[in-house]
């Protein structure tokens, strides 16, 4: 009886599977992510593919009583095993074998897209083609015979306009229908010609004979083709060596008739089929209009205008990112450090918790939450503009215009934008490296970002130049920014010769037509990225800010910050800075706490040089909740202000209590530094380790601490060396 039931349910399952997996694959710029958004809507989940930082989107939903899992594969041009994206896509298709593939095809660029479709068909998985941007193709006067494509390739072809949601329902309906094993549509993939098909047959028989069918029966054809091509990954996976007798035999005739390069032969064959089918199925108008893209490019890529247009658009994006984000940041900061903290305080007074708990909650936890939240506005703003740049097609042009210059220091044309954003704040800049596809370019760019002097370092320069260089403050400030850029060029060159030795990745990039991205998609994308930051990086930042609070307040009952664990570490570290002209524990402790956020250097100095004034302020602040954000001396207050000052560049000077503070600090700085050691100190602040949030962003973006570690190591050495040269060199020639 039980057996019978089991049998029945198995039969039912084979007729109509209760859950289906749909994989969405296609070329970059074919509108795949818009289509996914249209299909999945709010059910979309964004994460990473395991082990890599390539984004993975998926969605689960019910469709006519069945559980559908939709997986978005990275946009690729082929299934070769060379880029991260290609390996992910093909591993998923070969090993997970989804029930059906939705292949998103750009209807305005049929031929090259069909080349990828043919590769997908080799896998033997039912395929439904979304002939996307159909409206655009129609506008161009294209007439596409979808029926002919469908019957030639043995798949379904649905015209879609993802931006308007047209054809989406029909697409899902067809995908589900095609996935049904009971109605198994055989995708009788187009023949590759007698010679190749014969060789495939021989290889398939031999592989089957060996009992090796690791990726299922249907994939045998794909496997055979890859073996003929000499694909390293498939050779490795199947354990078949390239000079295996049967393989030699099978390809012997091919080699004799078509030359030794079988990989090229297969590519030619697929392109031949794609071109033939395009000729048959696509009717283009006789007279071609000069397209919008060409008219825009005539200006944007113009020999003389190209660079000015690029610089202007970059200036706009930089301004907008930080100007839009600024007020929100201030607002968030005010809410957290004002009312939120006050409420927490009243609550804690009410239930009479010990003082240390009050301090932990306000200075450790609430301030930590604040530090996470204040970065949200610039990250949202930056993601919005980056998505706009990519979606509109300008990003590829920006890379095209800048590549020559960036290539000279071992970078990619697209590296320019993250580096530029670094001058505002390094944190969104690190996230902006995701526009770079190649892991090497991405890592190298991220490593150089901290050398771009961000807004948080400015308060430090302002205080020090105010004391020693007020007559020529502008020149001193510029010299620091310039030094950072020059050292980035130098480090780029050094990294190219050491850590990133070997062949630089090539620059072979499509310049997609200009398109207006839909607001809805822009917002979805921006929101997903921001949410990701909040959850992933946010937890780290919170944990570390609590950890630092303990460092400043342990051992229990510590009176002065000098005796806290961080104070003790500072005392031990001070001699390291002696050859640089600032070997005091006060300087050391401000540098150590400055790792949290660089402008904390100033507030820590206020605390350690003038602790009495600060204590008074602290007690006052605790009674008057409104003034809480002005504490500025405790780690927590500074952490809260930190992010604020990143954006309101001269922030420290505009806070009234801060002004009093800086007067005290300025006097102390004047006593403890010389102009020379002050300059060395500023250079050190410019160069030494990136702030914690940047390090966490690097960890988050790369999925490993490796690059954050490299940044800490090289920047520490660089900062010490350059400050040493400046201080000791200056002394040699008699300055200071």
């Amino acid at each position: 009886m039980a057996d019978k039931e089991n049998e029945d349910s198995q039969k039912a399952a084979s007729d109509r599977k209760a859950s289906l997996v749909i994989a969405v694959a296609g070329n970059p710029n074919a509108g795949k992510s818009t289509l996914i958004n249209a299909m999945a809507g709010t059910r979309l989940q964004v994460g990473n593919w395991p082990g890599v930082t390539v984004e993975k989107k998926s969605a689960e939903f019910e469709y006519s009583g069945r559980r559908i899992t939709m997986v978005d594969l990275p946009g690729t041009y082929s299934l070769s095993p060379y880029t991260q994206e290609e390996i992910i896509a093909r591993d998923y298709l070969v090993h997970e074998r989804p029930d059906v593939i939705i292949n998103v095809v750009d209807a305005t660029n049929l031929e090259r897209n069909l080349y990828f479709t043919l590769q997908l068909l080799e896998l033997g998985i039912p395929l439904v083609m979304a002939l996307n941007m159909y409206d655009e193709a129609e506008q161009k006067g294209f007439r596409i015979n979808a029926e002919m494509i469908a019957s030639t390739l043995g798949c379904a072809v649905i015209p879609t306009v993802a931006t308007k949601g047209e054809g989406i329902d029909r697409l899902i309906e067809m995908a589900v229908e095609f996935a049904d094993p009971s109605k198994r549509y055989s995708s009788a993939s187009a023949s590759y010609g007698e010679d190749i098909e014969k060789a495939v047959q021989t290889v398939v028989e031999n592989v089957r004979h060996r009992g090796g069918k690791p990726s299922g029966h249907e994939a045998l054809r794909w496997q055979a083709l890859k073996l003929i091509e000499g694909d390293e990954l498939v050779l490795e996976e199947t354990g078949i060596s390239e000079d295996e007798v049967f393989l030699e035999k099978a390809t012997h005739h091919l080699r004799k008739a078509h030359g030794e390069d079988l990989e090229m032969l297969l590519a030619d064959t697929r392109y031949g089929l794609a071109a033939g089918l395009t000729r048959e199925a696509l009717q283009k108008p006789e007279k071609r209009k000069r397209e919008l893209t060409e008219r825009i490019d005539a200006v944007v890529l113009n020999r003389y205008l190209g660079i000015p247009v690029f610089l202007l658009s970059m200036w706009l994006i930089f301004k907008l990112t930080f100007d839009i984000a600024g007020p929100f940041t201030d607002w968030l900061d005010a809410v957290i450090s004002g009312p939120l903290t006050r409420w927490a305080l009243s609550l804690m007074t009410l239930i009479a918790v010990p003082d240390w708990t009050v301090s932990l909650v306000t200075e450790g936890m609430i301030a930590g939450v604040g530090a996470v939240l204040v970065f949200l506005p610039p990250i949202f703003a930056m993601m919005f503009f980056i998505t706009l740049l990519e979606g509109s097609g300008y990003m590829a042009r920006a890379a095209f215009v800048m590549d020559r210059m960036m290539h000279a220091i071992g970078l990619h044309g697209k590296s320019f934008i993250p580096l530029l954003l670094g001058f505002g704040c390094n944190v969104p800049a690190v996230y902006a490296t995701r526009t770079l596809e190649n892991p090497r370019d991405k890592a190298l760019t991220a490593l150089l970002i901290p050398l771009m002097s961000c807004g948080a370092r400015l308060p430090v320069y302002v205080v020090f130049t105010g004391v020693f260089f007020s007559a020529y403050a502008g020149t001193v400030l510029w010299s620091l920014y310039l030094l950072g850029i020059m050292l980035a060029v130098m480090m780029g060159w050094i990294f190219k010769k050491t850590l990133f030795r070997g062949e630089a990745p090539v620059f072979i990039m499509e310049l997609p037509p200009y398109r207006l991205p839909s607001v809805k998609n822009l917002l979805i994308h921006t929101w997903e990225k921001g949410k990701h930051y909040l959850i992933k990086a946010g937890t780290f930042i919170l944990a570390i800010s609590i950890f630092i609070w303990f460092g400043l307040n342990l051992p229990w009952g510590v009176e002065s910050k000098k005796d806290s664990y961080l104070g003790l570490i500072s005392q031990a570290a001070a001699p390291v800075f002696a050859p640089l002209g600032f070997g005091t524990w006060e300087a050391a402790s401000s540098l150590i706490t400055g790792v949290v956020a660089k402008e904390i250097v100033v507030s820590t100095m206020g605390e350690v040089y003038a602790p009495k004034a600060c204590e008074e302020e602290q007690s006052e602040a605790l009674t008057v909740g409104e003034d809480l954000k002005e504490i500025g001396v405790s780690f927590a207050g500074a952490l809260g202000e930190a992010a604020k000052n990143v954006f309101s560049t001269f922030g420290i000077a505009t806070i009234s209590a801060g002004e009093e503070d800086t007067t005290g600090i300025k006097a102390a700085i004047a006593r403890n530094f010389t102009p020379l050691s002050a300059y060395a100190f500023m250079v050190f602040v410019l160069l030494y380790v990136p702030c914690l949030i940047v390090l966490i962003a690097m960890r988050h973006e790369f999925g490993t601490w490796k690059w954050a570690g490299v940044a800490i190591a090289y920047q520490s050495i660089l900062a010490w060396t350059v400050a040493f040269i400046i201080y000791q060199g200056g002394r040699l020639i008699g300055i200071g």
């Binding site: 392109y271 890529l301 095209f400 310049l511």
Partner: protein
């Protein structure tokens, strides 16, 4: 003659790709295969890379790569 020798506005037919391995594979995936017609559209403002029209879409590549693609000029 290679693709890098063509001036903007000039077309050529690809004869052979003089590279191997990943780079060749990448070029092939982007439609750079023998027998295909390619037209140089633009040179970037700083002199490199190139923009070419191939298989009715626009591709950009550096001169160093274009130099390894043999073409025959088409009138």
């Amino acid at each position: 003659m290679t693709l890098a020798d063509l001036k903007p506005g000039q077309s050529g037919e690809i004869v052979k790709i003089q590279v191997a391995g990943a780079l060749k594979r990448r070029l092939m995936d982007m439609g750079v295969v023998a027998g295909t017609t390619v037209r140089v559209e633009k040179v970037a403002p700083l002199g490199d890379p190139l923009e070419v029209l191939i298989k009715s879409y626009k591709l950009s590549l550096r001169k160093s790569e274009a130099d390894k693609i043999d073409v025959e000029a088409v009138a």
